[in-house]
Symmetry: C2
Subunit: 436 residues, 2 copies
């Protein structure tokens, strides 16, 4: 694709073409960057620049002036020969693509975003990754993450373990943002890894102005090369700079529908900050180092687990329905410190008698469950409800499904839930990490 | 109750008694405040001071020194004659008590908190309220808020309307914090009020050190006297000062299980800040003024409404169950911009065919629904799903129950849901109000 009509006329005024570094001046603001190609049936009044900070922005050319700074090397990479020569000095990083916005493009006819990129396309649109590491790409799925299922976690875990076994120095998982934190929690419980496994995504697709795909991928490859050998999520940390936060995979949550800095550590601080593929700061020294753990995969999951959020007006029948349907685990998103209405305790007792594991978390999102403070909490504990402590409802749901995959014995499941396995429980107060 | 053994011996060293202003010096820190009585079977190594900032703190007397600053007026109020003479210069404020921690005391035997105060007790433990206004108290319920039901919202609305009709200048509703934001949303939709209606509560009960009950009540009475004639929530705004934020009743949420500053405006800023019962700052001028609206009560609610939070592994059967059970409305807490797994669309279509209203919100909590961006969202809209825009899931659940109380016609319900009624929808970007 190339620019058309007005946009092409505008570019011709300065004799510039795709790949050149240009300055555009408009209304007393000037933008310097590399002229990018425009995808699809886009409006011919806009051109797209990649700024130095890595953002792509769209600029309306009406009343704008363009001038050439430096001709670009065109094409910057040979698209027909993406598997460049392996550099033995560099780390081998594998990118596993599962779909999502980071590997999507916009459909300019409908305005909707579709998952259509292959893993190779992903690399082609982010050629800078090749400067950081020897990159291999593998397309595992091509789905938007609202369609992720526990069985896909199982397959993703298996796939990652296989690649680690074959010797990669780090893995990046490109994933849709909607349920990335569920998948990162699942991989955290399933996988003990000697190398970093970093999940990343994008809130805006690569071909859109101000996409975050490029920055997130670059910093994720940087994190996958680092010594932080945990299952993490690496995403944009603030609205307006090139930093990414590296979050513990069990303590992170998507907290905004549209902002690029949507992923936030809950009751915790991010492990580190990355910029331009390098660590720029580290918040804590308590992380697992490269080769500290041996590779181990334990990816059995029980699928008969439900997440139930309580509300004023909820009925007992909902619990009874899940008991009758043969569910093995119920993750409750209660109110406050971990409460349900009094009238539900009978059904909770019945679930407990039928050996169903019931775990309590809070719809407050932040803070820890404490069923010792109020009479309701004490009744729930007596009825067999297990504390989710400071786990997010999403992490606790995943952990419950995983724990039920490890044991059919309710006492053992309770012990697994109450034991910190992958940084998901911090029994000491983490009260200061609120809304950060 | 009075102090015992060690504590009484300690107090005797300076010949002080309850109500006196004292200084206690311990480990180079000194605390000045009014000596309070100690409740229940408490440890005899602690005494309780009310500091100038309104907090009660417990101080261990080991290695501490006490001295008398000023004798107190004892008793400060006549507990047998709480209905003091009406002062015509002051506003008439009604406190309606529904229960919750703000009207609870701790059971020192079990450590659990029980709702046991009457509304009169509430006033007795917060005598400063009488300096601010003519206070009348009314005990409507005595329940912890996890036990609130939509039918109690209906009664609370009726009760408030009756009191406003009889001429009070403002109403404070003392409420448990767990579901206070559900009730504040319900009252916002039900009630058009010429005077302020302020909900408040406490994270720590009145008789515990560092209770927030007193500060919250004082500032709520201040808010009920003010010109901000909305349905609001008035609660502690930061951990360590005497400020309260006044939140719009439809845009507020309990965001932490235990912190006192747990209530936060979502995608919005608080209307104002209060300190010592006075406005200390106003963030916006767009609020409803006193007497701007006439009293109107519209408290019909449909109770067959469910809140369903999606998760990877959710099944169609859950939707089918609610259809078969005759539910009239489903509030979906989807992922990201408002998504459900693809495979659920069939059931959503069936629900729509059966005239069930389905409203989409996001488990991100912050940000707006936008079902135009991704293909999944467009399919859901085609299946009849109504956008909840930037409503919190809790507010949207309440609004759906209320909208179904207003009309049985699905088109009309859709129009009500999509129309801003009580500040709950802000279609313009409110993206900057994130985690504040």
């Amino acid at each position: 694709m190339t620019y058309k009509k007005l946009a092409q006329d505008f570019l011709d005024t300065a004799n510039v073409s795709i790949g050149d570094t240009v300055i555009i001046e408009k209304e007393n603001v000037s933008y310097q960057g590399i002229l990018l190609d425009r995808s699809g049936d886009s409006d011919d009044e806009y051109i797209v620049l990649k700024l130095d900070n890595g953002y792509n922005i769209g600029i309306n050319i009406v009343n704008a002036k363009i001038s050439l700074i430096e001709g670009g090397d065109k094409p910057q990479i040979n698209y027909d020969n993406i598997n460049i020569t392996k550099d033995d000095e560099k780390e081998d990083i594998l990118i596993i693509s599962t779909g999502g916005t980071v590997s999507s493009i916009i459909d300019y006819k409908t305005g909707a975003v579709h998952p259509v990129f292959t893993a190779e396309d992903l690399l082609k649109s982010n050629p800078e990754l090749l400067d950081l590491a020897n990159i291999n790409v593998k397309a595992l799925y091509n789905i938007l993450s609202e369609n992720m299922k526990p069985e896909y976690w199982v397959e993703t875990g298996k796939s990652i373990a296989k690649e680690i076994e074959s010797g990669v120095d780090g893995v990046v998982v490109a994933h849709g943002t909607d349920t990335m934190h569920y998948t990162s929690a699942a991989l955290s419980f399933m996988l003990s890894s000697p190398v970093p496994v970093v999940l990343t995504g994008a809130q805006r697709s690569s071909d859109r102005p101000s996409s975050d795909a490029n920055i997130n991928l670059i910093n994720s490859v940087g994190a996958a090369k680092s010594d932080i050998s945990e299952i993490t999520v690496c995403m944009h940390s603030t609205l307006d700079d090139g930093y990414c936060d590296l979050h513990k995979g069990t303590k992170v949550r998507k907290m905004h529908t549209s902002r690029r800095d949507t992923f936030r550590s809950i009751d915790n601080e991010p492990i580190a900050k990355f910029k331009k593929g390098q660590i720029s700061s580290i918040n804590t020294n308590s992380y697992i180092r490269r080769n500290e753990k041996e590779l181990d995969l334990n990816n059995k999951i029980e699928s008969k687990v439900a997440l139930i959020k309580t509300f004023p007006g909820i009925t007992n029948e909902l619990i009874e329905y899940h008991i009758d349907k043969g569910f093995k685990g119920l993750l409750i998103e209660g109110t406050g410190l971990g409460h349900l209405p009094d009238y539900m305790i009978n059904s909770i007792e019945r679930a407990n008698e039928e050996e169903i594991a019931i775990v309590m978390t809070s719809q407050c999102i932040y803070g820890s469950i404490n069923m010792n403070v109020y009479s309701t909490g004490r009744k729930l504990q007596n009825a067999g409800v297990i504390s989710g402590y400071d786990m997010t409802p999403e992490t606790a749901y995943v952990k419950l499904a995983w724990a039920l995959g490890q044991s059919e014995n309710l006492k053992e499941v309770k012990t697994i839930i109450e034991t910190n396995i992958a940084g998901e429980i911090n029994k000491k107060s983490s009260i200061k990490h609120f809304l950060n």
